[in-house]
C-alpha cells in the first residue's frame, strides 16, 4: 500500500490514528455522555507501550496490546467515581481527570518528565490502522443494530426511562467508558509506534478540541458520521496546507460554533434530515400556501 500512497502515507496514518481517538469519544457520546478523558487515556496507552518496548524489551505487538489494556483498566477504575456525574459535570470532571493524568506524566521520574521519549521502534503501517478501524467498526455496527445498541440510545434519550425499562444504566455506562479507554489507549500506543516520539505536551487541549470537532460535526447518531468526518476533514485540512496556522484554528473554531447552532446533534442525526426534507417540501409547495402536516407524517 505504501507504493500507492507515496508521501501521503504518513498523513493518512496520522488521520487514521485520530479516527480511533474520535471513535473512543464517540463510544461514550452515543449514550449521551460527553467525556473529555480520552486524551488522558491515550497518553496512558502511549506511555505503556513506550516503557514496555523500550525498557522491558517487550515485542511491539505486546506493547500495543498492553497499551490498550492499560487504557481500559485506567478508564474502568476512574469510571466508577467519575460516571456518578452527569451532563456538564461529567464533561468537567473528565477534563480534570485527563489533565491530571497528563500533568502526572509530565512530572514523574519514570516517564522522563516533560522530555518524554524518542527512538520508539516504528512498526505501524496503514494496513494495521485500517485493520483496527475495520474491527472497531464491525464491533460498533453489531452493537448498534442489537439490543445493546438500542439500550445505549435509550440511555441517551432518557436515562431514567431507560432504567425504568430494565436497562442497567450504570453497568452500560461503565462498560462503555472502559471500552472508550481501550480505544484511546490503542490510539496512543499505535501513535507512539507511528511517530517514534512521545511527550506529555502532545496530549494537550488542542488535540482534544480537534477530536471533539470531528466527533461533534460527525454526530452521535451513527459511528460512520464521526469516522467519515475525521477522514474527510483530516484530508481537507492537509490539502489546504494550513497545518498549525492560526487560520486553521479560526476555521475550526467557527466550524464548531456553526455546527452547534445549525445541527446541535451533528450531521449524522436523523432529525436534521427530517428538517431539511420538510424545508424542501415547503419550498416545493410554493410560498403563501399553508402546509398542514400531521404529526404522524413526520415519524422518521
Amino acid at each position: 500500500m505504501s507504493e500507492l500512497l507515496g508521501s501521503y502515507e504518513f498523513t493518512l496514518n496520522v488521520i487514521l490514528v485520530q479516527a480511533i481517538l474520535v471513535l473512543s469519544l464517540y463510544v461514550v457520546f452515543q449514550a449521551g455522555l460527553l467525556s473529555m478523558a480520552s486524551v488522558g487515556f491515550m497518553a496512558v496507552g502511549g506511555y505503556a507501550t513506550t516503557l514496555l518496548t523500550l525498557e522491558q524489551n517487550w515485542p511491539i505487538l505486546g506493547g500495543v496490546v498492553a497499551g490498550a489494556v492499560m487504557g481500559g483498566v485506567v478508564a474502568a477504575i476512574f469510571g466508577i467515581p467519575v460516571l456518578r456525574l452527569g451532563g456538564i459535570y461529567l464533561a468537567l470532571g473528565s477534563l480534570a481527570l485527563s489533565q491530571a493524568i497528563v500533568i502526572g506524566i509530565a512530572n514523574f521520574e519514570f516517564t522522563n518528565g516533560a522530555r518524554g521519549f524518542a527512538g520508539i521502534e516504528l512498526a505501524v503501517t496503514t494496513e494495521h490502522l485500517l485493520l483496527v478501524l475495520i474491527v472497531t467498526g464491525v464491533i460498533l455496527q453489531i452493537t448498534h443494530r442489537s439490543y445493546i445498541g438500542r439500550a445505549i440510545r435509550a440511555i441517551r434519550l432518557d436515562e431514567r426511562t431507560a432504567e425504568g425499562l430494565g436497562i442497567n444504566t450504570v453497568l452500560y455506562k461503565r462498560v462503555l467508558f472502559a471500552f472508550s479507554g481501550v480505544l484511546a489507549g490503542l490510539a496512543g500506543a499505535l501513535e507512539a509506534h507511528l511517530t517514534g516520539v512521545i511527550s506529555p505536551d502532545q496530549y494537550g487541549f488542542d488535540l482534544l478540541v480537534v477530536a471533539l470537532t470531528y466527533m461533534i460535526v460527525g454526530g452521535s447518531g451513527h459511528w460512520i458520521g464521526p469516522l467519515g468526518m475525521t477522514v474527510v476533514l483530516g484530508i481537507v485540512r492537509d490539502q489546504l496546507g494550513l497545518g498549525g496556522t492560526s487560520l486553521e484554528n479560526i476555521i475550526f473554531g467557527s466550524l464548531l460554533v456553526a455546527v452547534m447552532i445549525l445541527a446541535p446533534a451533528g450531521i449524522s442525526d436523523r432529525v436534521m434530515y427530517r428538517d431539511i426534507g420538510r424545508w424542501i417540501r415547503r419550498k416545493r409547495t410554493g410560498r403563501g400556501v399553508q402546509v398542514v402536516t400531521t404529526p404522524q407524517g413526520e415519524v422518521s
Binding site: G86, A96, I250, V257
Partner: protein, 294 residues
Amino acid sequence: MEQFIQQTINGLSVGSVFALLGLGVTMVWGVLGVLNFAHAQILTWGAFSTWFALDADIPVLPAIAIGVLVGVLISVALNSTVIAALRKRNAPEFAFVVATIGVALVMEEVLREVTDAETRPFPRDGFPTGAVTIGSISIPGLQVVVLIVSVLVMIALAYWLNRTKGGRAVRTVAYNRETAELLGINSKRVYTIAFAISGALAAIGGVFVSVDSAAISYSTGDPLLLTAFAVMILGGMGSPKGAMVGGLVLGIAQVYATVYVSSVFRQAVAMLIILAVLLVRPQGLFGEPQSARV
C-alpha cells in the same frame, strides 16, 4: 511559624485573584447554567485592551475602564449571538460547551495574530507597588488592593442577587425561564446583564493577573479557565460567598502545595480539587444540593 503565616498570606493574595475569576464564572454558570469556555479569552482580551490603552499613555484607571468595557462588550456580544441562537434552538447543555470552545479558539487565534504571538511586559507604573509590613510579615500593596476589590465585588454581588429586584429576577430566570417570563421578567435582559457582569469581572481579573506577573500574552488566560471552574465548583454554584471562599482556599492550597510538597503538584491542585469536590460534595461548600448534578 513565621514562614507559615507568610505563606498563608501569599496564598490569600493568589486566592483573591482566583476569587475574582470565580465570581465572574458564578454569574453565568452558577446562576444561569451556561458553562462558558470563552471566559478565559474574554479575560485576556480585556487585559490586552488595558495594555493597549496604557501603551497609548492613557492613565491607569481609564485604561482599566477601557479593558472592562471591552470585556463587557465581548461578553454581551457572545450572549446575543451564539448563546442566544443555541438557547432559541433548545440545544443540549453540552452544545454550549462545544460552541464556546469554538469561540475561545477563534478569539485566541485572532489575538495571537494581532499580537504576533509575543509576550509583552505589562507596565506596573501607576499600580500600587509598595508593601505593607506588619512585624516581619510583608504584604505586597497590589495584593491588598486585589483582596479589597474582590471582597467589595463579592459583597455587592451577594447583595444584588439576594436583596434587589434585578438580582431576584436573575435568580428567577435561573430557576425557571418560562415561569419568570410569565411573571413579567424580561429574560433576555437578565441574560445580558449577567453576561455583562461576568465580562467585566473577567477583564478586571485579567488586568490584576497581568500586573502581578508583569507580562501578558495571547495565552495568559488559558491556565486560569480550569482554575476559575475549580473555584466555582469548590465554592458552590451561584454563591458569591462560595466563590470568594473557594478562591481563597484554592490559592492557599496552591501555595502550600508548592512550598510543602513540590512545585510540580501546584498545577494539579485545581484538577484534583475539581475531581474531589464533584465526587464527595457535588454542591460545593456553600451551594444548595441539586439532584441534577450527580
